[in-house]
Subunit: 315 residues, 2 copies
């Protein structure tokens, strides 16, 4: 296990700057009044390809030697990581293959292809995915970039909270959604070094609360295919992300499906930004734990904005 | 007719700064590629109360003497101006009355009340509105702040393009939606003085193209209750706004309902921001007139983001 360092994150930030947005931090007086706290929303929904994962993917892609890069990159993902890896590979002009279940939404496949990547379909099972992915790597020699359990990816995600503490002074805490733990690990990497006084919280759907249970139990618990509207948060922790969660996270909160959807709609309505359900979990958790955040300056990571506008969860 | 001056706009900007956001300018590589131009979106949907009208309303409210202010402000509006005047009055702590047809959406009435304003209902006719409004003014002595045909309002709206040319260098043109012409007039006021090389275009729904026809005819043409999804753009030009349009606008383009909705969805999908239909008319017009904008640096005013999330036009 190779744990990324502060230096890795700083190098990552210099490396990815030309390919990512320094996303804005937005505030809402209405939501602040409702929460009794000062919330600073770091808007990675406005990031390239619509998600923070452009950071980690760009760091992985642009950190390759020319020789490695020539063979391209590959991953398995039916979410934002696949799209963002395709984006980053496209910017470098190298091949990218994303293995996806044939049952994945057409929009997700189109997003990968839109940035120039290749989609290879597998059956919707772990066995098939692993077999098909092994074939892709054998055939291409492509570099595997894991969606989150990869030091290059974690170092890249850490650039988000580096920007946040440059943009907002005196934060008391930062809260981010947790699925596999890539964003939370990057946040831990950065803040444990550059902002050790800032408390780090994670927010998770009740219906996919494996990180919460892992945190309480003291070891990784992985669930089999949980169902939640926050579809970016279904995957389990892995050794690298567990390392950061275990050592640096102050607490993990959970929210119900209804609470997530309500928080999502509140952000759309009052802040006029399009966010995906996963991005709403932190606000839902703040609402439920007002006492903890009362009077505090809280950074809230809005992780992405890739939703199907024809199928919004409140319809 | 009192035509606002550059000095009025500069004073307005200093006056309103504490009460408005300096809204960000966003870009989209995808949309740029589609258009063959560089578009810079000035995001007034992220403005206080969700619309650029917070600028003009704040300038009017904070420009009042204490004696005037004590009697409050009043207007008739079933759109963003009513909400924004209520917002500004709330910030100053003075009364605000908005006369609205009883048939106006409840959400619009609630928005005015949410900022502390009072809603007085009239019948949905001009006669009733004028009678009820006269009563309100007689009773309260409130200062009338017209939604657009008011020099204080136009000077306030002009602060938007002042920020835009500070934020983006070397613009070739700016395009904004046109209804009554408040934003376009403010843009003309500012750019004719501070950026005379920047061409000013206006964008209008085909189904409410009275400004377009006025512009071509050389005199104001007002339509009776046009129907369009771009509900902020139904009102006619008045003498002050006509002055600016006639003297400083390079051209007015129009777009169909379908084109407006398609452009709206494109912005939501690719830029991850919530905009109202009126805000999409400029992009719809650029798409139809690619030759004019090809290779240019174009400022696009996103005027507001107040929509009913339960009734989106593509549903």
């Amino acid at each position: 296990m190779e744990i990324p360092t502060l230096a890795d994150m700083l190098i990552a930030h210099e490396r990815v700057k030309p390919y990512i947005h320094r996303t804005p931090v937005l505030t809402s007086r209405f939501i602040d009044d409702l929460m009794g706290a000062s919330l600073f929303f770091k808007c990675e929904n406005l990031q390239k390809a619509g998600a923070f994962k452009a950071r980690g993917a760009s760091n992985a892609v642009f950190g390759l030697t020319d020789e490695q890069a020539a063979k391209g990159v590959a991953t398995h993902s039916s979410g934002n990581h696949g799209t963002c890896l395709s984006y980053a590979a496209g910017r470098r002009g190298i091949p990218c293959t994303v293995v996806m279940p044939r049952t994945a939404p057409q929009a997700k496949k189109d997003a990968v292809k839109g940035y120039g990547g290749r989609v290879v379909e597998c059956e919707p099972s772990t066995t098939s995915r692993e077999a098909v992915f092994a074939e892709v790597v054998a055939e291409t020699g492509a570099e595997f970039v894991h969606p989150y359990n990869d030091p290059r990816v974690i170092a890249g995600q850490g650039t988000c909270s580096k920007e946040l503490i440059e943009q907002v002074e005196g934060l008391d805490s930062v809260i981010a959604p947790i699925g596999g733990g890539g964003m939370v690990s990057g946040t831990c990497l950065t803040l444990s070094n550059l902002g050790p006084q800032v408390k780090i919280y994670a927010a998770e759907p009740e219906q996919a609360d494996d990180a919460y249970r892992s945190f309480k139990a003291g070891h990784i618990i992985a669930d089999d295919a949980p169902e939640t509207v926050a579809d970016g948060l279904k995957v389990p922790l892995k050794d690298l992300t567990w390392h950061f969660v275990q050592n640096h996270v102050a607490d993990i909160f959970t929210a119900s499906e209804d609470e997530i959807i309500e928080a999502m709609k509140l952000i759309w309505k009052r802040m006029k930004i399009v966010i995906e359900p996963s991005s709403a979990v932190p606000l839902a958790c703040i609402l439920k734990n007002k006492d903890i955040f009362a009077g505090k300056r809280v950074g809230v990571i809005i992780t992405g904005g890739n939703v199907d506008l024809d199928k919004l969860p409140w319809m």
